[in-house]
């Protein structure tokens, strides 16, 4: 890895260089009822709009690579057959300006399934390959348990990662594009003082986590606790609303629907993100539902993330961003659910 440092004032210049592209970054979205500021990722054109000291965004950056709804193909129907039109909906490269480590890792996890699998998803791949990601260091929030998921720092999946050292940024360069970009602003080699400061900040950050999840032997414990009463407890609270999956940066399940237009001459196929908590998630042709109870559906969400995925890829399908718990109106959070299944509640 190549490291550089540059003065904070240079960041606006960096933004300017990147701004020839469509850019997405964190912006403020007002305050919640307790006065806590809310943030989200939006397309931004002005450097001043960026809220680079943002905490967690309410929604994840997922929609830019995996939209909630996407037309997969359209059809022109005629008496003798049909013509199919496919559009991968890749319009332009996208620059992500200021993504935290958890979300970078979330994209890496999505890659495992949607880009690096036997049958990559071209709609995802097209968008993912056309990203330039500028990562940014963060401060752990009470909801964050990324450290427990091993996703508190990103080692790949970005072009450039900036750590705030106070008056300057410590830059990790991972791509040629990023290297060329930094050569156009005023950068220095990091001094040993910078190294010390970087290490100090990393140590300090570790101390600030207030939430953790014990993952030791978790796959086995989940296996053992398949019939645990804990699932019923959480299932009774669950609204089967799908909010957790929608805000989650790593949930990728979807349903595909075909729809004929009113003129009977056109049709389309649309993919919509779904959630394993929804009542019809495991409903099959003929009407049988394999998971009619909320508790089994909720359990499945945890099994996919913390058991099945771990067995397949040796890492959980969760980056510990805490969004799902924060957004859940029934107050169902992964740290509490997992603790209860482990018998710690």
């Amino acid at each position: 890895m190549i490291f550089k440092v540059f003065k904070k004032e240079e960041l606006a210049r960096l933004h300017e260089l990147l701004a020839v592209n469509i850019m997405v970054g964190p912006v403020a979205r007002g305050n919640d009822r307790n006065g806590k500021p809310l943030y989200d990722f939006e397309v931004v054109s002005d450097f001043a709009e960026l809220a680079l000291d943002y905490t967690q965004t309410v929604h994840s950056p997922k929609r830019f690579v995996l939209p909630y709804r996407e037309t997969l193909s359209t059809f022109t129907l005629n008496p003798n057959g049909w013509e199919k039109q496919v559009d991968l909906n890749v319009r332009h490269p996208l620059v992500f300006f200021g993504m935290h480590a958890c979300d970078i890792n979330a994209l890496n996890k999505l890659d495992l399934v949607l880009a690096k699998s036997t049958y990559p998803n071209p709609y995802y791949l097209g968008k993912r390959k056309n990203l330039f990601i500028l990562g940014l260091s963060c401060n752990p929030e009470p909801q964050c348990f990324c450290r427990s998921m091993g996703t508190d720092s990103a080692s790949h999946g970005f072009d450039l990662f900036l750590t705030d050292l106070g008056g300057k940024y410590f830059a990790e360069i991972l791509s040629a594009t990023a290297f060329d970009l930094l050569s156009q602003i005023s950068c220095q080699e990091p001094s040993s003082k910078d190294h010390t400061l970087y290490k100090h900040l990393t140590n300090e950050k570790s101390k600030r986590y207030t939430t953790s999840v014990d993952t030791s032997d978790l796959t086995k414990i989940l296996d053992l606790e398949f019939a645990s009463k804990a699932w019923d407890y959480w299932g009774e609270k669950c609204l089967s609303c799908g909010t957790c999956a929608n805000v989650c940066p790593t949930c990728y399940c979807y349903g595909v629907e075909e729809q004929i237009d009113l003129d009977l001459r056109h049709a389309g196929k649309t993919r919509s993100l779904h959630s394993c908590n929804l009542i019809d998630f495991a409903k099959v042709a003929g009407g049988h539902n394999f998971r009619p109870e909320s508790a089994t559906r909720l359990k499945y969400r945890y099994y996919h993330k913390h058991r099945g995925f771990v067995e397949a890829f040796e890492e959980p399908l969760c980056v510990g961003c805490g969004r799902c718990g924060a957004a859940c109106l029934a107050d169902i959070t992964p740290p509490e659910v997992i603790a209860s299944v482990r018998g710690k509640m």
Partner: protein
Amino acid sequence: MGGQLTYLGVPLARPRVGFFELTSCEGCQLQLLNNEATLLDFLNLVEIVNFREGMSERGDNYDIAFVEGSVTRQDEIARLTEIRKNAKVLVALGSCACFGGVNQLKNRFRDLDWVKKEVYGDFPIESMEVHPLADFVQVDLEIYGCPIKKEEVERIVTDLVVGNTVRHPEYPVCMECKANENICLFELGELCLGPVTRAGCDAWCTSNRRGCWGCRGPATVANLKQLEEIMHTYGFDRETILDRLECFGGFASFADTLRDKGKKTPTGRKNP
């Protein structure tokens, strides 16, 4: 309109449809005429034999009857029974027809004669307790919403014409609300019935920063017990919740339980 209707070269019968209204604001029917861009396609798909809102001729020879409105008078029961007899498929169009709709708000009062006097004074008018269609006739298909969402009706009509299974979203409004990346209104200190209300409106209200009033009735899973807890956590009192739950009638039996009073409820109400 049009010649033989075909889909992928396969001839299709153009269903004869009738639109009828009982006690309603006719807003749902108007919604159908509202979409100029697709109106001609819509009219090409079906043969309309009865539509007071859109034409003057009348006919009783229809396959599909779309009935808007709730039942509030004896003569409406007779009309509805007649429509049922003529139609192969009877569709309850909109929340009045499905649940009683806004009209059923008056069922909240114990003394319906008092209500009548408040509204109509001494004008002689018949107005009884409000009922959804299903209290009197078999309803084959319900189209929810106050008003209905025209895109949804167009989809349903297309499905009916080509013979596809008609499906409603089973999940609650939250799913669509989150797909539109709205900040949850509870977080902003506002009340919302989205977590228990059937989706399909594309989170119409919440995407315009107004809490859901549950016009489409309960989702397939409507965890009302948890909703009560949420209301409590976010500091809304029971009357405020009841105002919402009772607005369109879809949550009538739950609201009755919540109100915990011995008032008689109309028969055949949907159990959320």
